[in-house]
């Protein structure tokens, strides 16, 4: 039992160790390394496409991680580093697309759909209200109702 527990513990340890770029040298300064990893999380791996370069084991992703660290040591700010990537690979390399003319539909469509949804609810409510008549039954209608109810009772 103890062996099993320690095995599970070891396996868990190894998974967390593999999470971020196991293969390369990290920056000595932990705050700089944290900044580097924040930037890497925003950059798409061009080989595997739906992973960031932090998560990817592809050789190109490793090269790009090395470049991010180099640029940080060289004193670039975050925009400059992301600019380095987009000038080579386009906006596509950013996992979060920038807000501009080409992506305005992408960014605003959830809001638009939400508004359409509210409008539909509002309109339906209004329709339902206007359908309900508040007038009392006429004597003719009362008679008919009575008749129907009595018929039902006889059966």
């Amino acid at each position: 039992m103890r062996n099993l527990l320690s095995l599970i513990f070891l396996v868990m340890l190894s998974v967390s160790a593999a999470a971020v770029g196991v293969d390369e040298k990290r920056l000595d300064d932990p705050t700089q390394e944290a900044r580097a990893q924040e930037i890497m999380k925003q950059i798409r791996c061009l080989v595997c496409q739906n992973q960031s370069i932090v998560d990817s084991d592809a050789a190109l992703a490793r090269d790009l991680r090395i470049i991010v660290r180099e640029r940080i040591i060289a004193g670039d700010n975050d925009e400059q580093i992301l600019g380095y990537m987009t000038s080579r690979y386009g906006d596509w390399v950013l996992l979060k697309p920038p807000f501009d003319g080409a992506t305005i539909v992408l960014w605003l469509s959830p809001l638009l759909l939400l508004m359409v949804g509210f409008y539909v609810i509002y309109r339906n409510q209004k329709l339902r209200k206007s359908n309900v008549s508040s007038e009392p039954l006429t004597s003719e209608e009362k008679q008919r109702l009575e008749q129907l109810l009595n018929n039902e009772g006889r059966k």
């Binding site: 061009l46 496409q49 190109l60 000038s87 080579r88 690979y89 596509w92």
Partner: protein, 175 residues
């Protein structure tokens, strides 16, 4: 009121068309950022040596169409593409080859076995120049006319695609 009944159908049609178009795009075709730009600045050594094979200055000085092909001996699709590169050479195209992250010995063996379609070959051992070009895999091929990049093709070039897609672009510009 009767028109309202068609709203769901209309919404469905719009979504269906958007999905049909969107899902039929090839996700591995990433548009290049370098189209209509001059080539990035670089200078690369010959395979297995120190002296410069070619640089951005050589490409800028070329008149007419030249081709830059990133390849590697470890890349299986490059073997598929190779016969067509040989054909392009026969047709008089000047192809500059960049051996991407390849050992000199392997590159030389690849060329010896498969034939040499290249006008000049350079070695990009650490792949940094390739990153400057926006290369994300091999083979990738850039078509340059009068020093300006006009078209990029990722994955092997096949003859039909070259004729139908690339030749019109290269003939179309600069009129």
């Amino acid at each position: 009121m009767s028109l309202n009944r068609f709203i769901p159908l209309a919404v469905f049609c719009v979504i269906a068309i958007a999905l049909y178009v969107g899902l039929s795009l090839n996700p591995s075709n990433i548009p290049s950022e370098l189209i209509n730009d001059p080539t990035p600045e670089f200078s690369l050594p010959v395979v297995g040596g120190e002296e410069v094979s070619f640089s951005s200055i050589d490409l800028a000085a070329e008149d007419g169409v030249v081709i830059v092909n990133f390849f590697a001996s470890w890349c299986a699709p490059c073997y598929v593409e190779h016969p067509f590169l040989m054909k392009l050479k026969e047709r008089g195209y000047k192809i500059y080859g960049v051996a991407y992250k390849d050992k000199a010995r392997d590159t030389n063996r690849f060329i010896a076995q498969q034939g040499n379609p290249y006008y000049k070959i350079a070695a990009d051992e650490d792949g940094r120049v390739a990153i400057d070009w926006g290369v994300y895999g091999v083979p990738e091929t850039y078509f340059i006319k009068n020093g300006i990049i006009r078209y990029k093709h990722a994955s092997p070039i096949l003859e039909m695609e070259f004729e139908d897609k690339i030749v019109p672009i290269l003939e179309g510009v600069d009129e």
